[in-house]
Symmetry: C2
Subunit: 249 residues, 2 copies
């Protein structure tokens, strides 16, 4: 416990020296400004984020590094925006020659999200009708799980089935988990002690405060933020190499 | 003249061996299928294409290779979709630390295109109110011109001012021109003999038939086409390296 605390605070120190951590409220204000003042579209942002996540995944888990014979990936998508980012990520992973399978238990009624779903369906990416409760089946079938279930905007008080069951399953899987933006079930603003334990975290635009208690591989993805906004919100982003849409922190 | 004809036909042979060339009608049918059946959004496609163009430009003209002190680029945008792709390209070039200036003489009344314009304006990318008729001013001020004026869908019979004047100016500039999808003023389906003479052509999704008479650096950009569509339209696309969104042909 002592070791882990020391590790956590040294990581927090490293992060705070290099770039800022954003609170849930700050991120909401930032995204609202992108949509209202800069006239970015949600479709456009979700495409940018999902693509960047897929590219980061190829970096964290190159095709050549996968232990299973087939480059299978299970992408679990939540009902809101974070789920749609997962759908876009799955589509680009298919283009990068991975074999994604999607589990999307509660589909969003919004046409924006439905369009992203249809794109995956038309590309013949399989959708699971249920998640096996026998964890060994997941460990055997997939190389990794992409967690695009709950985003930073999720009110954790409201998390019910099927998501509470999915999170319980994810705590038991032995294959690596890569979480999109925040590990599902973690409070975006706080260190987590008993949530799922992803090997990879892909922060979108800026790391959230909960990233201080994350000790795995940490990527920052989505390189499009106007310089004025980076300054205004004091994001202090690192320099992305070349034309890369992500950076390992 | 003899040499140039030999060169053209050997280039055509190389292209036909490696990947197919698409006619204007085929591309229209393909894009309609992407929008209607696959539910891709125009905003999403324009973002993907514009980003891929910007990345291809950084490959063709790396910052370190530019002759002027400032990494200036003039992006000329037409009134339709090709112009919006130019706007997105300019925005990403700004993020990649180029200094784009936009000339967008006739702004589209569609909110989709207007949103892309606002994103550039809010990022403080300068817009020219007119194009200098004195070509030397353009040669002196910019490292290159990005031609995102007229797309393959343009009916060349309808090309009037200000575009005919812009094309006349572009025939005289000495700095390199990079054209998006088709060189403006060229018929998408035919070899051109007297149009503008770009150094770089960035074909989107698949090269158009007019690419047979293009002898400069040729890139294919936009890596997202579902495999079924690639097969159905017999595009025979080359293998993109890694996660790159473009390939040099």
């Amino acid at each position: 416990m002592y070791c882990s605390q020391v590790h956590m605070s040294s990581l927090a120190l490293t992060l705070s020296l290099s770039l800022s951590l954003s609170s849930k409220v700050e991120m909401e204000v930032l995204v609202t400004e992108l949509l209202k003042d800069y006239h970015f579209g949600q479709q456009q942002l979700i495409e940018i984020w999902g693509h960047a996540c897929a590219v980061a995944i190829t970096k964290a888990y190159p095709l050549s590094s996968l232990s299973k014979k087939q480059p299978t990936v299970l992408v679990i998508c939540g009902p809101e925006q974070n789920g749609s980012i997962g759908l876009v990520c799955a589509r680009h992973l298919r283009i990068f020659e991975y074999e994604p399978t999607i589990y999307y238990p509660k589909r969003s009624p919004h046409s924006l999200h439905q369009d992203f779903t249809i794109q995956c369906e038309k590309m013949d990416i399989p959708f699971l009708s249920y998640l096996p409760t026998e964890v060994q089946l997941i460990n055997d079938a997939y190389n990794l799980v992409i967690d695009s279930i709950l985003g930073p905007e999720t009110d954790l008080q409201d998390v019910k089935e099927p998501y509470s069951g999915i999170l319980a399953t994810l705590k038991q899987v032995k294959i690596p988990i890569a979480s999109v933006d925040v590990p599902s079930g973690w409070d975006s603003d706080e260190a987590s002690t008993d949530g799922i334990n992803p090997e990879v975290l892909i922060s979108l635009m800026a790391p959230k405060k909960c990233a201080t208690s994350f000790s795995g591989k940490h990527f920052l993805a989505g390189r499009f933020l106007p310089y004025d906004m980076q300054k205004k919100y004091e994001l202090n982003l690192p320099e992305f190499p070349g034309t890369e849409c992500f950076i390992e922190l």
